[in-house]
């Protein structure tokens, strides 16, 4: 997943080490880009498979 602001590749949600602000009930549902700080939504599990299918088309 790419950051919606700086376009860099975000680390996977399970590997993100971020300190949440604690303002949201039920925990943080955002990934903060480690490079620019922009908040990107964490894709829910039921959408992740669909998203991964799309990303697998990208080269690496």
């Amino acid at each position: 997943m790419k950051c919606g602001f700086c376009g860099r590749d975000l680390p996977p949600p399970d590997k993100v080490r971020q300190k949440p602000c604690g303002a949201c009930l039920g925990g943080c549902r955002k990934i903060h880009c480690p490079w620019c700080g922009y908040e990107n939504p964490i894709v829910p599990n039921y959408l992740r498979r669909w998203k991964n299918k799309d990303e697998s088309k990208e080269n690496d």
Partner: protein, 654 residues
């Protein structure tokens, strides 16, 4: 891709580095074949692939590192990639870059070369670049960089033979050197002359990382430089004090300048090739002459028409007016009245501030459709790559009015959520910047939810939206300008890499919109329910009436009916909850266009929600946060009062 198998460690190591998605793994597979080992790097959860290859009869171990953007690490993946570079004593480091993004990726090549690493530059995906009419003069680039440069397309194995040849014949004695500006070179020399330890990186590179406050390198120095540590610390501190600017930014800009100079004669575009629509659009968005009209178009169609007319008009009418008013409300009210005769319970569930009639209705029928359409427009702009360009555009204006350009990032983030943006202000360099931005976020930057509801609300009243925009902009500029003048300090520069603009992908936009709507709903729904219970308790105990009485002089001074007090109290819980209260009053015909505009302006400028206030207290302390709270409250009511007087005097929005 990877097969768990024993891979014998060879004496010589080839380390592949580069940004994510540049084809490192494709190259790794092309070099090593099928037998590779994927394992976590010791002490981390980051996966590193290892494999073997034979070149001219010599065996090499190949390591595929995680993607990295710079030698100065920020993420765990980057830290691991750098540790591999520092510890594995590579025979050759192959820096893989994307031919389509040379200017963005070449600064890291410079970092690797100046670190004294044995670098071979592989310009990958060259076929795609050529298809776009780009020509890269590889021999000239090799001459300018002073390292082997190979052009290729690893997916088609183009350039693989040349790369293998370059690895086999690599001469580690040849070292390239790049010169920075005289001042920076002097600073580097001042620090590196004290470095006496044995490091994988050359002293010049260590000095640059120390100036950029790299904690890992500082740790390394503390262990290796027992005798001269004090002198090194003094040299670094003196430089930081003397230069009084963000050295990280200064070094990045210097590297950028060198890369531009290198690439000037190396990259050629086909003369007859016309720039694509998105390349031209990208240019228009950051040019002030075309950027601001484009911004107005985006706001008009994206927010006013789509969110305001469609979301707040059509969808809310359908849900609130149709589903809730005609079907759900009468059914639930009837059911509750049938099940219980207790007044307090009826009030709690379906009364004026009932959990269903207020909490659920506001969340589902009023806020969700408006915020949903807003998120769709937001995700679309995000996917196109508009936001970084908007930041650049606004940055130019900020600089002209004497504000700090770096403040753009938390400001733009504030339109997402002000609470988080307040937290992000800690990344700003000086206390002055942090206080100014925190104040502006609390005062005049509405969060996405509030913005969506207010835009939706005001777009139904002709003339109200321009008045609201003008008031909020005026207050923003005046307070920003004034606080920038009053608080002394430096004005650092703003610098960011612009990712390319592209056609939005429907799947991406939908996924982001649904994800945002889900977290938003999960976040607001319990709060709306909690707020309605609190308001119900206030009504039952008479505390709410007391609060309304206390606030009524201020509310009547604004020319607003006393019922508006409740909406302002809602706003304490969440800004969008308050805005929804105004929406509800407007739809019941309780507010005239003038009153609606005054209320919307005052509420936008009014105190932030509880979460943002707590974050302000956490980040800036009690003294500053209470000061901001008082200033913002006074300003909001003063502006609201003035607007009411002006509108009354001129007869606008009568």
């Amino acid at each position: 891709m990877a097969v768990q198998n024993a891979v014998c460690a060879a004496d010589r190591k080839i380390v592949l580095v580069g940004n994510p998605n540049v084809g490192k793994s494709v190259l790794f597979n092309a070099l090593t074949g099928a037998y590779t080992v994927v394992s976590n790097y010791p002490g981390t959860s980051v996966e590193v692939s290892r494999g073997n290859c034979q070149i001219d009869g010599v065996s090499y171990e190949v390591l595929d590192t995680p993607g990295m953007y710079s030698l100065l690490p920020i993420t765990e993946e980057e830290r691991v990639a750098r540790e591999i570079l520092l510890k594995e004593k590579a025979h050759t480091v192959i820096h893989v870059i994307d031919a389509r993004n040379l200017e963005r990726m070449l600064p890291m090549t410079l970092q690797l070369v100046e670190a004294g690493l044995p670098v071979i530059l592989l310009i990958n995906i060259l076929d795609e670049a050529e298809r776009r009419g780009m020509y890269v003069d590889i021999p000239l680039l090799q001459e300018k960089l002073g390292i082997p440069v190979i052009g290729g397309a690893m997916a088609r194995k183009r350039g693989l033979a040349e790369l293998r040849q370059a690895i086999a014949s690599y001469d580690s004695k040849v070292k390239a050197v790049f010169g920075y500006s005289r001042d920076l070179e002097k600073d580097i020399a001042k620090i590196s002359e004290h470095l006496t330890g044995d490091y994988t990186l050359v002293p010049r590179s260590i000095a640059l990382l120390l100036l950029q406050k790299d904690e890992d390198v500082w740790g390394l120095i503390r262990d290796a430089e027992k005798g001269s540590l004090e002198a090194i610390e003094k040299a670094v501190n003196d430089t930081v004090y003397e230069r009084r600017m963000d050295l990280n930014l200064r070094i990045s800009l210097e590297r950028k300048r060198i890369c531009r100079a290198i690439l000037e004669e190396v990259v050629h575009q086909q003369a007859d090739r016309k720039p694509t629509f998105f390349e031209r659009l990208a240019g228009w968005t950051i040019n002030p002459w075309t950027g601001f009209p484009l911004l107005l178009l985006v706001l008009y169609f994206g927010v006013y028409v789509f969110v305001g007319k469609f979301g707040a008009g059509v969808l809310v009418d359908l849900l609130e007016g149709g589903l809730f008013e005609n079907y759900l409300n009468p059914w639930v009210v009837g059911l509750v009245h049938k099940l219980t005769s207790w007044y307090w319970l009826r009030e709690l569930l379906v009364g004026e501030y009932g959990v269903f009639t207020l909490g659920v209705r506001y969340a589902v029928a009023l806020v969700l459709p408006i915020v949903g359409t807003f998120f769709l427009a937001f995700s679309l702009m995000e996917d196109v790559g508009y936001f970084p360009r908007l930041a650049m555009l606004v940055d130019r204006v900020f600089k002209k009015i004497g504000l700090n350009g770096r403040a753009v990032i938390p400001m733009v983030l504030g339109f997402g959520c002000d609470t988080m943006a307040t937290m992000v202000t800690r990344t700003l360099e000086t206390v002055r910047e942090r206080v100014i931005v925190t104040l502006l976020l609390a005062l005049a930057v509405p969060c996405s939810a509030q913005l969506g509801v207010i835009m939706g609300l005001l777009s139904e009243v002709p003339g109200a939206l321009p008045v609201w925009v003008a008031c909020v902009m005026l207050v923003f500029l005046a307070v920003g300008l004034l606080s920038a003048r009053l608080l002394p300090g430096e004005r650092p520069m703003f610098y960011m890499e612009l990712p390319p603009m592209r056609l939005p992908q429907a799947r991406n936009v939908l996924i982001k919109t649904v994800s945002r709507m889900q977290w938003y709903f999960l976040e607001i729904f319990p709060l709306f329910i909690f707020a309605s219970i609190l308001l119900w308790a206030g009504k039952m105990t008479g505390a709410l009436n007391g609060l309304v009485r206390i606030m009524s002089p201020a509310i009547s001074a604004l020319g607003l009916p006393s019922e508006t007090t409740a909406a302002f109290i809602f706003g304490f819980f969440r800004r969008d909850f308050g805005a929804a209260g105004l929406y509800d009053m407007h739809s019941q015909g309780l507010l005239s266009p003038r009153q609606l505009t005054v209320a919307a302006v005052t509420m936008t400028l009014f105190v932030p929600c509880i979460a943002q206030f707590l974050m302000m207290k956490k980040e800036r302390g009690w003294k500053v946060s209470l000061g901001i709270f008082l200033l913002v409250t006074l300003l909001a009511f003063a502006v609201g009062w003035s607007l009411n007087v002006v509108l009354g005097f001129t007869g606008w929005l009568a």
